[in-house]
């Protein structure tokens, strides 16, 4: 039981970190609390499933799946930047209005999916017969290769993105804008385009996390699947402090382990799993409003 918690908690936490990274990135850089983040996750899974279903005409291979993944992620990135341009950009700076707008967008996406795909579940899985559908045993626990892939891929992406933000010119521009928007503009940074890029990256991360999580755990996509990742990402991000990358990694591990512990130890725990991140978030906000590593925060004391 303890081995299960340690292994599955760790794997889940890794992907959650990727999910939360997108959320914290767009907040830290532009101050947008993007409540449509869960929708990007959902869109990623749905588009992946849809594109693999299209390419089923040809023999189902790993390369097809990877192509579908890349296409889905790029499409979600385009959707994300379009949303930013059309809906968020006119009201940027008013955090509350941005939240209402992004919740509206999330509801619109949910209804669109409901119209196009209906309430039935869509299969989201790697091609049959590939190594990713098999599993191995370690310390008496059966672990799927797909989960290992999810963990490894998200850790690689997480580290790559941290390096990108730390060392590249665009990353430096992002940090500059998050520190002082006007000064950054005076230095010749096109903030609008930078925000759009950040939104695209954030949407890409959410979509990737969506595909990785659904292919390794539930293996199907449903209409209301956007709520749990949204709750997860804001819980993690608030736990670690909005706008902090290190914080989101540590927050992800805390939430991931808390969730797995509840899922495995509490009776019928799987049904109540959605409560865990929210409860942790509420407790953290009430006991320590700044989060663990919060930087860009205005709080009443």
């Amino acid at each position: 039981m303890i081995e299960e918690i340690i292994i599955f908690g760790g794997i889940a936490s890794g992907v959650y970190a990727l999910l939360a990274l997108g959320f914290t990135l767009i907040y830290g850089i532009s101050g947008i609390v993007n409540l449509a983040h869960g929708s990007f996750y959902m869109l990623g899974a749905y588009l992946f499933s849809f594109i693999t279903a299209l390419s089923l005409l040809e023999p189902e291979t790993m390369s097809n799946s990877i192509l579908a993944l890349v296409l889905a992620v790029i499409l979600v990135a385009i959707i994300g930047s379009a949303i930013f341009r059309l809906a968020i950009h006119p009201i940027i700076g008013d955090e509350v209005a941005v939240m209402v707008v992004t919740v509206s967008l999330a509801i619109i996406f949910q209804q669109l999916i409901l119209i196009i795909f209906g309430v039935s579940f869509l299969p989201v899985m790697w091609p049959k017969g590939s190594i990713l559908t098999t599993s191995f045993r370690i310390f008496g626990v059966t672990v799927d290769y797909s989960r290992v892939l999810a963990f490894v891929a998200s850790m690689i992406l997480f580290i790559a993105l941290s390096i990108f933000i730390k060392w590249t010119k665009i990353g430096k521009a992002m940090r500059a804008v998050s520190q002082d928007r006007e000064a950054a503009m005076l230095m010749g940074i096109n903030t609008e385009r930078l925000y759009m890029l950040t939104m695209a990256i954030s949407a890409m991360l959410a979509a990737t996390a969506g595909i990785l999580i659904t292919t390794s755990t539930t293996r199907h996509a449903g209409v209301y699947m956007w709520l749990h990742p949204l709750a997860l990402s804001f819980a993690i991000v608030i736990l670690g402090g909005l706008g902090s990358i290190k914080g989101s990694l540590i927050g992800a591990f805390i939430i991931g382990y808390a969730e797995q512990t509840v899922a495995i130890t509490v009776p019928e725990g799987g049904a109540i799993i959605g409560v865990v991140p929210l409860t942790v978030m509420v407790l953290v906000l009430l006991l320590r409003p700044k989060g663990l590593f919060g930087k860009r925060i205005e709080m009443e004391e």
Binding site: I107, I108, Q111, V275, E300
Partner: protein
Amino acid sequence: MAISYLRRAYSSFAAHVFDIPPRLMAVLFFLILLLLPTCGLSSYYMWILIYANIIAIFALSWDLLVGRTGLISLGHALFFGIGGYSTALLFRHYGLPLWITIPVAVLLGALAGMIIGFPCLRVKGPYLALVTMAFPLIVSNIIKWSPLNPVFKGEIGIRASPFFPFLPIRQQRIAEYYLTLLLLFISAVIIYKIANSKTGIVFISILDDEVAAKACGINVTKYKIMSFIISSMFASLAGSIQAHFLKNANPSMFSLTLSFVPIIVTFLGGIGSIYGAIVGTYIYYILDKYVLIYLLPVLLRNFNLALPRGFEHAKLIIFTSIVLIFIIRWPRGIARYVTDKLQDLEEARDLDERGPRIWKRYKKKEKS
């Protein structure tokens, strides 16, 4: 000739309409609502109107909290659901009559408002919105949790007593309509009185500038909690009426969609105004249940067209897009647009200076 006559008639009509004082307009509006059941509406339309009355109370409570005090809540369905569930539980386990269950539900709602309000005051802005959004999700998850099924009955929900079980169905609808209308009227008057009292002015000062309000010696925490409690009381009143009206309390009372209804409605009618929430609710329900379900298919049938499948789900998209357009392009709302015409320049400017930032950025330019 005819056109010029019509134009002149319209302009004189418009001039007269915009001369009517707002209070008279409100009275006229309620008179129309009073007379509606006498028009021989079928019980489906009565059902829509009753439902609109209930949601109007809910929207009013949201508007007091968000539009007047500026405490953004994206999970107001929490209080609605608490009202509904407490009435249903009281009925099921103790068999209490509804003139006891409704007041008790309101009191429990006030208690919930206090319990939620105290900790929520430590956080602000987007954090407050996230916390308020989290609470109904937590509660609905717990209610659906299978070990608690003996108490909450899971997805099916708990049965509640109807209002007038002794009347035939048609009279029942009319009686329910007048009861909900009376409750809506009382709630609107109470909220109007609160909003225009000294307390209401304090609420607006908190909305405008909390630091300045604090500097003036106002106990901001006390007033914020007061706003939370009043708002949650009315929201749980609406919830308990709905539980009795639909004879059921189920987890959808905590859903995000329901939390979103007051947002749609108040943005439609104009946020931060009492009439806006009510007018917006009626516009919303008439559009939702009459125009889109009944009128549009009839119109389309004339052209040998039919509504596409899945239109039921598309309605929410339409309304949410309306909210988006209103927030992005026209954040002052319909009712406010009319009252700007009704009231003279001074009062219009006064209204401009109230209200949350959401529409303040769009202050109307002064007419010269």
